[in-house]
């Protein structure tokens, strides 16, 4: 072969090579070709941004990291957030700085208003969720909550991970019959000043209490499930502020200070400062009794008429450089093994999103709840789940609360 011809051949092949090379470096992995995803993921590192304020949750994430390393050679690093909003802010800032393919967030634990915000700004990768091999086990056709997030369809841009529902708990040594409605709570607090509170807004557990109260106190349910702009916020929320204005003087520290979070409230229960509290994780009180953080006389219940519940998800930012590994991780979280381990009281106690009634018997057996534990909810307690209002209500309520109660 003569020299000029070699050069010519090289020159001709260059653009082709460039074309061939670009999809593998730039294009996102296709969740439809799962084998390719698994192979691409091997050796990648997933930076999973997730709220890090709860020891039990953090420990579960460590277990996930170990399993992912062993099973798929994927390194999972839990970036502990104080608030999920931090991750949203980071991805936004990266896009503003023109960083569209080498972001620092690979997976984010998310739902509600943060999901809505990221979807609105086109910050998410997808759709991918419904193509994850284990997603089918959630049977969305029977369980619409796994594809709906605060009234919004998820459209495959986030994958369900766990279920939360507001659950109240109290020390049965101190309290015979706990209040069973938002209105009763106020009456009870007047009789037992300083023994109840809710987490400081904008904590998500605290914000959920506001929504729970609003649903019970207002008769404008329809408005709550549509964007807040479509209704008269002041008129709809007025009963809530009247209620809180009355309630606050009877709260812990006379409402001049609030617990930092759900777990912080749990600590105050353990210290005997509070006599009544609530959590977003139904089996948390039972798990805390087992860990010596709450008195053995602790009991759980839900309000008459049900409490707010939601599903929490994981999503992948559009500029994640490790989407394959992130998808693999999202899928692993949906395996019966990971879901059962998560629900284990000794681990975390977060309820599964899988449709246990449609699993085969062996697998379903792993999800049986320990009903002997007296701190555990009655099995039928979670049948009445109130759906989350439209996410815009969360922001509006948080802002109004702060304007009303901060700096007084």
């Amino acid at each position: 072969m003569s020299l000029p011809r070699t050069c010519h051949a090289l020159a001709a092949s260059l653009p082709l090579a460039a074309l061939l090379a670009s999809p593998t470096t730039l294009a996102a992995p296709d969740p439809g070709d799962w084998q390719a995803v698994v192979e691409e993921a091997r050796g990648q590192t997933v930076y999973w941004h997730a709220w890090g304020g709860d020891g039990r949750t953090n420990r579960y994430l460590e277990w996930v990291a170990e399993r992912m390393q062993a099973e798929h050679q994927v390194e999972v690093i839990h970036v502990k957030l104080g608030d999920t909003a931090e991750a949203v802010s980071r991805v936004l800032a990266e896009r503003q700085a023109g960083n569209d393919d080498d972001g620092s967030v690979d997976l984010v634990w998310i739902n509600g208003e943060n999901f809505a915000a990221m979807r609105d700004s086109d910050l998410l990768f997808g759709p991918f969720a419904e193509q994850l091999p284990h997603f089918a086990l959630t049977h969305p056709e029977h369980n619409p909550e796994v594809v709906t997030d605060f009234t919004l369809p998820t459209d495959g841009f986030e994958s369900p991970w766990g279920k939360a529902q507001i659950t109240f708990y109290y020390d049965s040594d101190e309290l015979d019959t706990p209040p069973t409605s938002v209105a009763e709570i106020k009456a009870w607090a007047e009789d037992n000043p300083g023994r109840f509170s809710y987490p400081r807004i904008p904590d998500f557990t605290g914000s959920t209490f506001l929504k729970q109260a609003l649903i019970e106190l207002s008769d404008a349910d329809e408005a709550l499930y549509a964007p807040v702009e479509e209704s008269d916020f002041e008129a709809v929320s007025a009963p809530l502020w009247d209620y809180l204005d009355d309630l606050h003087p009877h709260l812990w520290r006379s409402g001049r200070q609030f617990p930092a979070s759900g777990p912080d409230m749990l600590r105050l229960m353990g210290d005997g400062e509070l006599a009544l509290a609530f959590t977003f994780i139904p089996s948390e009180p039972a798990a805390a009794v087992a860990d010596g953080e709450l008195a053995p006389s602790t009991r759980s219940y839900v309000l008459d008429g049900g409490t707010l519940g939601n599903v929490h998800f994981v999503a992948i930012p559009y500029n994640s450089p490790h989407k394959a590994a992130a998808m693999l991780l999202a899928d692993f979280l949906l395996t019966p093994e990971a879901q059962a381990h998560k629900q284990d009281l000794a681990v975390w106690g977060d309820r599964t999103v899988l449709d246990v009634s449609r699993l085969d018997d062996d697998q379903a057996a792993r999800f049986e709840l320990d009903q002997d534990n007296p701190a555990m909810l009655a099995p039928d307690a979670l049948e009445q789940t109130l759906a989350e209002p439209h996410p815009s209500w969360m922001d509006a309520l948080q802002e109004a609360w702060q304007a009303r109660y901060v700096g007084r």
């Binding site: 890090g52 304020g53 020891g55 953090n58 420990r59 460590e62 690093i77 970036v79 502990k80 957030l81 104080g82 608030d83 909003a85 931090e86 949203v88 802010s89 980071r90 936004l92 800032a93 990266e94 503003q96 700085a97 023109g98 960083n99 620092s104 943060n114 915000a117 000043p193 300083g194 400081r200 812990w252 520290r253 006379s254 001049r256 200070q257 609030f258 617990p259 930092a260 979070s261 777990p263 912080d264 409230m265 749990l266 600590r267 105050l268 353990g270 210290d271 005997g272 400062e273 860990d291 010596g292 953080e293 709450l294 053995p296 702060q402 304007a403 109660y405 901060v406 700096g407 007084r408």
Partner: protein, 564 residues
């Protein structure tokens, strides 16, 4: 090479701070093209001043700066004035280093558990003394006036100011002065206040200013002990900066400038107070009063410093108990059951952060020690050292990171890094730590280095040793003890850093401090106990080495005991 050291240090410290401040100043007036702000406006300031509770945030940050410093300094001065070198005094002096090594966050956790209505003190007194069967509903921790925040800071700043004062006292021959005044009939404490304090204060003014700046802008301690509705200005800034609504960053930048202003205002007010005290003090100084108040002052000094030391130590002990506690019902003084479960569970997750902490602290400290030694050695060789206590060299700028609030320039620095497309890495965090480690290493090393008898090096040189020989074979080994102490201080400073790690590491770099503070929100005291103890023990290890290694090495060298 050596000659470049002071300039390198100055550039390393001043560059990032100025860049950070600039990138806070531009968005504060609406200019940040990356976020669509391309014209100057006052909107960020309008938004800022419309924030609920802003005035209160500012007031708490300001008063925390002044009150913390005033109380800490008063306690240190009274203690030193009344110290007579008896056993108790010596014990307190020996406690300085360990107390200093407790990271702020750990001390704050300890204090929180000590003074909370369901805390150790309340449990110890209940129900026997107080009659409380359940914790009283009292707003103590995170009180809206910031008193518990200030108390937490005072506990940590007393050892710092005490250490700085003890180092400065070497320079002014306090004992002779007191002896002279006593021969004129002055009681010792009064004598100290009248003849030593006026010379001591100028020597510790810089550390005092550093305390003001720190206390008015601290983040981690304020998150644990500070008020919440609203929090201090610095904590609010952190929230705004992390808000998913990016337009809030303009407001956050304005807030960063406001924080700088609050700190400067606190410094200026302090300076005003200084003038006032000097004027009032002049009359008292020359008034001839020799006896009155002697006993009361001496006892107050001793009692207050003991209270601070014991508070810190009992707080840590409380954390230790918590880390082993099973269920612990109020008002039991001790938990009903003891368990190793919290430690066992935390152990697997401790490894990574502990390794990262040590790696970052070790690297930052070694870099700092190298630079500081180079600068000091250069000073020696060129024969140009600033007169004692005077700050005339370019190295004065070294102390900038101690005066400019971290939070005011770190956000700007993050914006600079984002604009440069720099990925958050461990090196960035190390660099961020270096900004704060360097000044403290310099502060604790320079005194011993400058006071080192120059004849030792001269002997070595006239025996034919080169200047490098003299440095490695004489100066360095003879200064080993202060060098190790400076390194321990550097490690402690780095280990305690929260904000630089969080911001420059983008949350990806987790150290024991970021982990412990992240857990604060969860409020799980047992877990916090584990992490805070680990956090406190790492720097302590450094101090144990700093004290033990020279003793071991020089066990057979009487002349090396009682460091030069």
């Amino acid at each position: 090479m050596l000659r470049l050291a002071p300039w390198l240090i100055t550039a390393l410290l001043v560059g990032p701070i100025l860049a950070g401040l600039a990138m806070a100043a531009l968005p504060a007036f609406g200019y940040l093209p990356a976020l669509g702000g391309d014209s100057l406006s006052l909107d960020p300031w309008r938004d800022l001043f419309a924030q609920p509770g802003l005035a209160r945030s500012v007031a708490i940050s300001f008063s925390s700066g002044i009150a913390t410093t005033a109380v800490s300094l008063t306690v240190v001065v009274l203690f030193l004035a009344g110290a007579s070198g008896n056993r108790l005094d010596r014990w307190i002096r020996r406690m300085v280093s360990p107390l200093l090594s407790i990271p702020h966050a750990a001390a704050a956790f300890g204090l929180a558990f000590l003074i909370a209505p369901s805390g150790l003190v309340s449990r110890a007194l209940s129900p026997t003394v107080t009659g409380w069967e359940r914790p009283p509903d009292l707003l103590i921790v995170q009180d809206p006036w910031g008193l518990s925040l200030m108390a937490g800071l005072v506990v940590k700043e007393i050892p710092f100011l005490l250490l700085m004062s003890l180092a400065a006292l070497h320079q002014i021959d306090a004992e002779h002065r007191v002896a002279l005044a006593r021969s004129l009939g002055y009681r010792p404490t009064i004598a100290w206040l009248k003849v030593v304090l006026p010379s001591l204060y100028p020597l510790i003014r810089l550390p005092v200013f550093a305390v003001i700046a720190y206390a008015s802008s601290v983040v981690d301690v304020a998150m644990i002990l500070g008020p919440t509705l609203p929090p201090t200005l610095s904590v609010s800034l952190l929230t705004w900066f992390n808000d998913p609504d990016l337009s809030r960053r303009f407001m956050a930048s304005a807030g960063a400038l406001l924080q700088l202003g609050v700190t400067l205002a606190a410094l200026a007010s302090w300076w005003g107070l200084e003038c006032l005290v000097r004027r009032l003090g002049r009359g008292w100084m020359a008034g001839g009063q020799r006896q009155r108040g002697e006993r009361r002052l001496r006892i107050a000094g001793k009692a207050l410093i003991l209270l601070a030391a014991i508070t810190a130590l009992v707080g840590i002990a409380g954390l230790a108990i918590n880390s082993l506690a099973g269920f612990w019902r109020f008002p039991d003084g001790l938990p009903q059951t003891v368990t190793l479960q919290h430690w066992q569970r935390a152990l697997p997750s401790l490894g990574g952060p502990v390794a990262a902490t040590l790696m970052i602290a070790g690297t930052a400290t070694l870099l700092a020690v190298g630079l500081v030694l180079a600068a000091l050695e250069n000073e020696q060789r060129s024969g140009r050292q600033p007169a004692q206590g005077q700050l005339t060299s370019a190295l004065t700028l070294l102390y900038l990171p101690l005066i400019v609030p971290q939070i005011a320039f770190l956000f700007g620095l993050v914006v600079v890094m984002e604009a440069l497309g720099t990925r958050p890495t461990r090196w960035l965090v190390i660099f961020g730590h270096l900004l704060f480690v360097l000044p403290y290493v310099f502060l604790s090393m320079s005194e011993a280095y400058r006071r080192f008898d120059p004849r030792w090096s001269r002997v070595a040189l006239t025996l034919g040793a080169t200047p490098n020989d003299a440095f490695w074979r004489v100066r360095l080994p003879m200064l080993l003890a202060p060098l190790l102490t400076a390194m321990a201080v550097g490690l402690a400073v780095s280990i305690g850093q929260y904000l630089p790690t969080l911001l420059l590491g983008a949350g990806r770099v987790s150290t024991v401090t970021t982990e412990a503070v992240a857990l604060a929100a969860g409020g799980n005291r047992r877990l916090i106990g584990v992490w805070a103890l680990v956090q406190a023990s790492l720097p302590l290890l450094g101090f144990i080495i700093a004290v033990g290694l020279p003793r071991l090495l020089w066990s057979n060298r009487r002349g090396m005991r009682g460091t030069p």
